[in-house]
């Protein structure tokens, strides 16, 4: 699979539907004790409609759009993103990755990553560079 994706091409799309179980497990595996991610009543007391998706879980979802889209022949070399809006268990978070630039030799790609919630609002946006491993 040596075809280099073209500029403008959307290479990956991943939909993550975070559940309270997933957010609990992400909290557990990252040893994150912040209650807003796994305690519904605490999250409600802070004014949130549900338990919050971790910023790094938003990022993991967005990066998955890149790794799935490009495949194992490519490796992510840098990532920059901003979380613009919180999301909650029960939402559907669609992450996409689009090629915005390609080096002359086609061995370095720049991608725009974006994650939107179920109502189409942007939760995360950023930039990724990925290098060819061959």
């Amino acid at each position: 699979m040596n075809t280099v994706p073209a500029v403008g091409e959307q290479v990956g799309e991943v939909v993550m539907r975070p559940t309270p179980l997933q957010l609990f497990r992400y909290s557990a595996v990252t040893w994150n004790t912040h209650l807003i991610h796994f305690d519904q009543s605490w999250a409600a007391d802070e004014g949130y409609p549900g338990v919050l998706v971790h910023s790094h879980l938003h990022a993991a979802n967005a990066l998955r759009a890149v790794t799935e889209g490009l495949g194992a022949d490519w490796q992510i070399s840098s990532v920059s993103y901003r979380v613009l809006r919180p999301a909650f268990a029960g939402d559907a978070l669609t992450a996409t990755a689009e090629i915005v630039e390609s080096s002359e030799d086609g061995k370095l790609l720049t991608l725009a990553i974006k994650e939107v919630d179920g109502s189409g609002e942007t939760c995360l946006e950023g930039t990724v560079t990925a290098g060819s491993r061959s």
Binding site: T30, W31, R64, S77
Partner: protein, 172 residues
């Protein structure tokens, strides 16, 4: 957003600001230890990613890696690599009591990562942490504080694997 007068901060935010400001530039090195297969596999499951590079050593080897590798932001995503604090040292909202988050709301705002080498299972990892900057801004919904921290993850030979600059947003 505009810069604001620090005297306008709430007492909780002022206390946190003072504490963090006094540590800007401090470098703290931690030995994370060996990141094993179980840790990587559990992280991959928690993010819902079934990529065989994260689970199956044969698939990783076929792709040219010495063993399974971690998803790109695993090193960044783990909040605490140590045992964690005893419960009486944790704030009511679950955040570590070592920071004066009491009464403040905290969330991740963004990050810049430079990934020099993927993390391979079995690597002995160190984390050098430096508090980069503290900024207070006036947002649409009130005063916002941004704290940026650099984490440099390296292996036991000193090879840097990953450099992260992460920003958290702290609000009254």
């Amino acid at each position: 957003m505009t810069e604001i007068d620090l005297h306008e901060l709430s007492p909780e935010l002022a206390k946190y600001h003072e504490e963090v400001q006094s540590h800007v530039g401090d470098r703290e090195r931690r030995h994370i230890g060996i990141v094993d297969h179980r840790m990587i596999r559990r992280y991959a499951v928690a993010i819902g990613d079934a990529n065989p590079l994260y689970q199956d050593a044969d698939a990783a080897k076929a792709a040219g890696y010495p063993d399974i590798i971690a998803p790109p932001n695993m090193l960044a995503g783990v909040v605490d690599w140590g045992p964690g604090l005893m419960e009486d040292e944790i704030n009511p909202d679950g955040t570590p009591g070592s920071h004066s988050f009491g009464g403040l709301r905290v969330m991740g705002a963004g990050e810049e990562m430079e990934i020099l080498h993927p993390l391979v299972a079995g690597t002995d990892v160190y984390d050098d942490e430096v508090i980069d900057s503290v900024e207070v801004k006036q947002g649409r919904s009130g005063v916002l504080m941004f704290v940026t921290t650099l984490h440099e993850f390296s292996d036991d030979t000193g090879k840097v694997l990953n450099r992260n600059r992460r920003t958290i947003l702290v609000r009254p």
